[in-house]
């Protein structure tokens, strides 16, 4: 269900999460930026995938449709360290043509995100 890029980041759906839409990114050389820290692009990629998973779930219960990314704005708050990183997307508004989605990424504590993103997606209804 996750695309090849998600696999390239090593992402998987968190089996401990009941609603099945929390993604996990393991710490690995392929997601590292400066030594010892996650690359901002990998954290952003994780949040974009979490946003898309959340939006696909919301769309599935609303007639379905294709998703096209319009934009993303990312705030980087803390360095990502040598541990698992989690992300969940939240669909703030699902319209006919546009969806507003937010996502955060965190490690130890969801209340202390390492990054946050907000995205606009174009919805192409079938």
């Amino acid at each position: 269900m996750l695309p090849p890029y998600a696999e390239t980041l090593g992402l998987y759906v968190d089996p401990d999460c009941a609603d099945g839409c929390r993604l996990v990114m393991p710490y690995a050389d392929g997601v590292l930026g400066r030594p010892g820290f996650l690359h901002g692009g990998a954290i952003s990629g994780l949040m974009e995938m979490a946003a898309i998973v959340a939006l696909q779930r919301a769309l599935a219960g609303d007639g379905g449709g294709r998703i096209k990314p319009i934009n993303v704005t990312v705030d980087f708050m803390r360095g990502g360290r040598d541990k698992l990183t989690y992300s969940t997307g939240i669909v703030t508004r699902l319209g006919n043509r546009v969806a507003n989605v937010e996502a955060t990424a965190w490690q130890d504590d969801a209340a202390k995100p390492i990054a946050a993103a907000r995205m606009n997606y174009l919805i192409v209804r079938g």
């Binding site: 980041l9 392929g30 990998a42």
Partner: protein, 145 residues
């Protein structure tokens, strides 16, 4: 006129030091100038975000633009500084064409004591037909100067 040895060389930087995420995505040096740097990302099925169309995901473009704009700051300053991305906004103007190499150009247009302001564009062959536009800031905890 001799060139000072401390000048930041993005080609050397990407060949030697930068493994990790950039190498994992297949990113490489493309070109640079006094306040800009370009990277290349060859098409790779591992980067695909939409299996039906074969279009690469938006994430790898963001990663490339983050790195190209980061290097543009060091080029403008003439040397490396420890800094981190504060925020980055990407507009995805159109899908990247499957099979084509994406070129990302980052430019630093202003540096203050602690903040660097950057912008950039990505294209897949024709710079006049960009596929993404970015704007953002970096912050140097120890200061840029």
């Amino acid at each position: 006129m001799s060139i000072p040895t401390f000048i930041f060389d993005p080609e050397r930087f990407l060949k030697s030091g930068a493994g990790g995420h950039g190498k994992h995505l297949g990113l490489s040096y493309h070109a640079h100038g006094p306040d800009w740097a370009e990277m290349a990302m060859p098409y790779d099925p591992r980067l695909v975000g939409d299996t039906d169309s074969g279009v690469i995901a938006s994430g790898p473009i963001l990663s490339m633009m983050d790195m190209a704009t980061s290097m543009s700051v060091w080029l403008k300053l003439g040397g490396f500084r420890a800094h981190a991305t504060l925020d980055l906004r990407v507009d995805y103007l159109r899908p990247a064409t499957p099979g084509r190499t994406v070129i990302g150009r980052g430019e630093c247009y202003r540096v203050t004591r602690s903040i660097a302001f950057i912008r950039g564009q990505a294209h897949d062959g024709d710079p006049a037909d960009p596929l993404a536009h970015v704007a953002g800031t970096f912050m140097a905890p120890e200061g840029y100067f």
